[in-house]
């Protein structure tokens, strides 16, 4: 009897632990608070491309819940930062505004220095959630070290981009290969896809790899999903900028050889469209890509993107693989390999000193609300039944309406998109977001296991952008960075310049300019062990 009791208690304990792992926000069951006081209107300027603000159900719901009516001014997305700076220069400061940059922005520092924006630490009692939701690494993005290290903007933290690389599962099977784990595997896969016509249509129109977004800090070429495979670490770990690390030349050589072997789409550098690689993948032109917003092809329900993929590739199959591991790792020990993440900050919210007391209160209420599960859900995803069809609490993603459902008469509000830029935080409290679940229940279980073990075991490193002195160094070397990203790397990869020319420029011109980084990191982290 005692034994059965013990088992039952153990079972209950286990279930509690198990379910608390899923104790996340479920809009259907969690209670929703409603505001019962006066509604305050505040002026807000934000960067909201393509959002309809009239009769927006999310804004109405926001008003209902926290009593804040947002009078939003929208500035052009492409020139947002200079436009908001002009407005402020002309004396037109909204109560609250968003800056699409972090504390390294020169204008932000000026506003703080000239006393135009609130130091949010003085308002801490009004925005308590922000200080519990965000940790010290996150908050660093809103601090101005040159002044008093005050928190002059609330950082808007970005959920992780998926740490996975998608591959064509059907092609892997056809070519008799396993999901790539190391750069060697990837090399083999890419060359095979390029040369062995896996889609079987007789035309030489498939390539292994497609890379875009070259200019954005090295972007696709130095994506974090491939860095680990070459031993490249974040700057704050290596005490060096990435191009100065050993693994960087290995990575460049890898690309160079792969291009020479025909494994990369030959004109990848022409595409300025940042989604070009995803489009190509969806069209069945390439076997893999690095930058991807989500792997919803692998979702059990399909988004429009997945729909497009399956339309073009009726027999296609997408599988996700780990970020690349160094050569010599096998799939068996991949699980225990050390991973790291660098958080990303997508802008800061500032409150103007010129705003009235009620407006400041209301703005704080909004920001405070935005740092809760409820707030993140409302602002990022919207309202169930209106902006999305249903909510999957396990995977913590929404099931969207199909285009046909959106266009159903009588449901025009379905065409209104959720306001992703207005959300204060775009990540769940534990930063995790499972975005791929595998194609079979076993795979899903495996991904869940990896997610729970590994994702929580990821070590988060801060971004060097927040270290004082780095922003100035970056400004000073802006041309060099542009030259590296926009010319030298690609020229070497496609064979436009020799290895000697590249390394010569790299080690004699580029890297010496960044030697200060060691001092900058040491100043914050202490000497390298």
């Amino acid at each position: 009897m005692k034994r059965y009791l013990a088992i039952i208690v153990a079972a209950i304990l286990l279930m509690t632990v198990w379910s608390s792992a899923f104790a996340v926000y479920d809009p259907e069951t969690d209670g929703v608070s409603v505001w019962d006081g006066e509604i305050t209107t505040i002026t807000v300027t934000d960067r909201l491309p393509g959002i309809q603000l009239e009769n927006n159900p999310i804004l109405k719901e926001l008003e209902r819940r926290i009593g804040v009516r947002l009078e939003i001014s929208v500035l052009d997305a492409a020139q947002y930062n200079s436009l908001i700076a002009s407005q402020i220069a002309a004396g037109d400061i909204p109560d609250m505004f968003y800056l699409w940059d972090n504390s390294s922005n020169v204008n932000f520092q000026k506003w703080a220095q000239e006393g135009l924006i609130w130091n949010l630490e003085e308002l801490e009692d009004k925005i308590p959630n922000a200080f519990t939701w965000l940790n010290a690494n996150d908050l660093a993005y809103g601090r101005v070290p040159s002044l008093d290290n005050g928190l002059y903007g609330l950082p808007r933290m970005q959920q992780l981009t998926p740490d996975a690389i998608p591959y064509r599962g059907d092609w892997l099977k056809k070519l008799g290969l396993e999901i790539p784990v190391t750069p060697e595997d990837l090399f083999e896969y890419c060359v095979a896809v390029s040369t062995q016509d896996p889609d079987g249509n007789g035309i030489d129109d498939t390539w292994g790899l497609f890379i875009t977004q070259l200019g954005d800090k090295g972007g696709g070429l130095i994506d974090k999903n491939i860095r680990e495979g070459f031993g490249i670490e974040p700057e704050t770990v290596a005490y060096k900028v990435i191009p100065a690390q050993e693994g960087f030349m290995e990575l460049m050589d890898f690309y160079h050889d792969l291009y020479a072997a025909g494994g990369i789409y030959p004109e990848f550098y022409l595409e300025s469209d940042i989604y070009a690689d995803q489009e190509a993948f969806r069209a069945g032109k390439v076997g893999t890509m690095f930058k991807t917003t989500s792997l919803d092809h692998t979702m059990p329900y399909r988004s429009n993107a997945a729909e497009a993929f399956y339309q073009n590739n009726p027999d296609g199959e997408v599988v996700a693989g780990y970020p690349l591991q160094p050569n010599g790792t096998t799939a068996a020990d991949a699980d225990s390999y050390f991973h790291y993440i660098t958080m990303s900050c997508w802008g800061v919210f500032c409150i103007s000193k010129a705003a009235s007391e009620e407006a400041v209160d209301a703005a704080c209420r909004f920001l405070n609300f935005g740092c809760t599960e409820e707030g993140v859900h409302l602002l990022t995803n919207g309202i169930e039944g209106i902006n999305y069809k249903s909510w999957d609490p396990v995977l913590r993603t929404k099931v969207a309406f199909t285009q046909a459902e959106k266009e159903e008469p009588g449901h025009e509000e379905r065409l209104i998109n959720a306001i992703s830029y207005l959300c204060v935080q775009q990540s769940w409290a534990n930063y995790g977001k499972l975005t791929f679940g595998g194609n079979t229940p076993e795979e899903k279980a495996e991904y869940m296991r990896r997610y729970n073990e590994l994702n929580h075991g990821y070590i988060v490193y801060d971004n060097i952008d927040t270290y004082p002195g780095y922003a100035d160094l970056k400004t000073k070397n802006a041309e060099l960075t542009t030259k590296l990203n926009d010319e030298m790397m690609v020229q070497y990869i496609v064979g436009g310049i020799t290895r000697e020319e590249f390394t010569d420029w790299l080690y004699n011109v580029y890297c010496p300019a960044w030697e200060e980084v060691e001092d900058i990191v040491t100043a914050v982290r202490g000497p390298k062990e």
């Binding site: 009239e54 052009d76 997305a77 002009s86 002309a90 940042i274 919803d296 429009n304 959720a418």
Partner: protein
């Protein structure tokens, strides 16, 4: 009003000039024909791409005919709520702005044609300088949005650009090219400068009026840049801004936004093509009305030069 007779066609003396007539015909038809074809072909492909599903485009971009017609991208774009407000706003700009601009242009250009008018060079210099120097975003913002209070007002898209110096100079030069004798005759007859302008000079200016009218209409139709500075409510955007917003997310690093629902990104290649059609077709319909002024010659009867 006599003296203006429209003639079309060329001298009909066939026998003497046949050889060079033919040569000219061959050259001009071929060159113009080829060039027109070159202009039309990509546009045709825009139409084709806007009608065919994206997957087909990726598989076979060269086929000049949509294998499968799908109106989805048009439906998608037209269902975008801001398109209709965009049309209305741009229509306001065109119908209100164009007459104002043309009027201002005419009355400003005419005095500048009089080379002997005292102060004329000075005034002309004032105009030319503005073509090259401007104060920048901040003072313009202060002027338009704060001093004049035109923030979010469509008039902020009309007034600042009301009279462009480029068009002004073209008009002035055209007027200069008209024979001065008619004006002199009218002045001697006792007409004042205003009457000369309205009754005599303007009717002779039809080609340039049509041209600059077209330029002005197109200018207002394409109005986009000023709206970035002065308009902050999406329902007041002119059409071009609406369309650019539609594809704007393309130009910006949205990858790390983690937008999981890719269906929110309605800008794909096909939608872009549909947008080109939607933005271009209406303005192309304006042109045929003004075309006749470009094509026929005017014979100024009653005045021998």
């Amino acid at each position: 009003m006599n003296g203006v007779v429209k003639l079309s066609g060329k001298p009909k003396n066939k026998i003497k000039l046949r050889v060079d007539d033919k040569a000219m015909a061959i050259i001009c038809y071929t060159v113009v024909g080829l060039f027109s074809l070159l202009c039309f072909l990509p546009f045709w492909y825009v139409i084709v791409y806007s009608l065919e599903p994206y997957s087909l485009y990726l598989k076979q971009p060269e086929i000049p005919w949509p294998a499968e017609i799908s109106w989805t991208s048009y439906r998608l774009v037209l269902k975008y709520g801001l398109i209709w407000s965009g049309y209305v706003n741009t229509a306001f700009l065109v119908f209100v702005g164009t007459p104002l601009t043309m009027t201002l242009m005419i009355i400003t250009a005419y005095p500048l044609t009089k080379k002997d008018l005292k102060g004329r060079n000075f005034i002309l210099t004032l105009w030319v300088v503005t073509m090259y120097f401007s104060g920048g975003m901040i003072p313009n913002y202060i002027l338009v949005c704060r001093t004049l209070g035109l923030k979010n007002n469509l008039w902020s898209l009309i007034l600042p650009g009301l009279c462009g110096c480029y068009n002004l100079i073209l008009m002035k030069n055209y007027m200069n090219g008209l024979p001065g004798s008619i004006e002199e005759a009218a002045l001697i007859d006792g007409a004042n400068d205003l009457q000369v302008l309205i009754r005599i000079v303007l009717p002779l200016c039809l080609p340039i009026l049509a041209t600059l009218g077209l330029f002005t209409i197109v200018g207002y139709w394409n109005s986009y840049f000023n709206s970035i500075l002065y308009i902050y409510k999406p329902d007041k955007y002119p059409l071009q801004r609406v369309l650019r917003e539609f594809i704007a997310t393309d130009m910006v690093d949205e990858v790390n936004q983690g937008i999981t629902d890719v269906s929110q990104q309605v800008n794909n290649f096909t939608a872009k093509m549909a947008i080109i059609m939607i933005a271009t077709l209406p303005i192309m319909c304006v042109y045929p009305f003004l075309q006749k002024y470009f094509m026929t010659g005017l014979v100024l009867g009653g005045v021998k030069e």
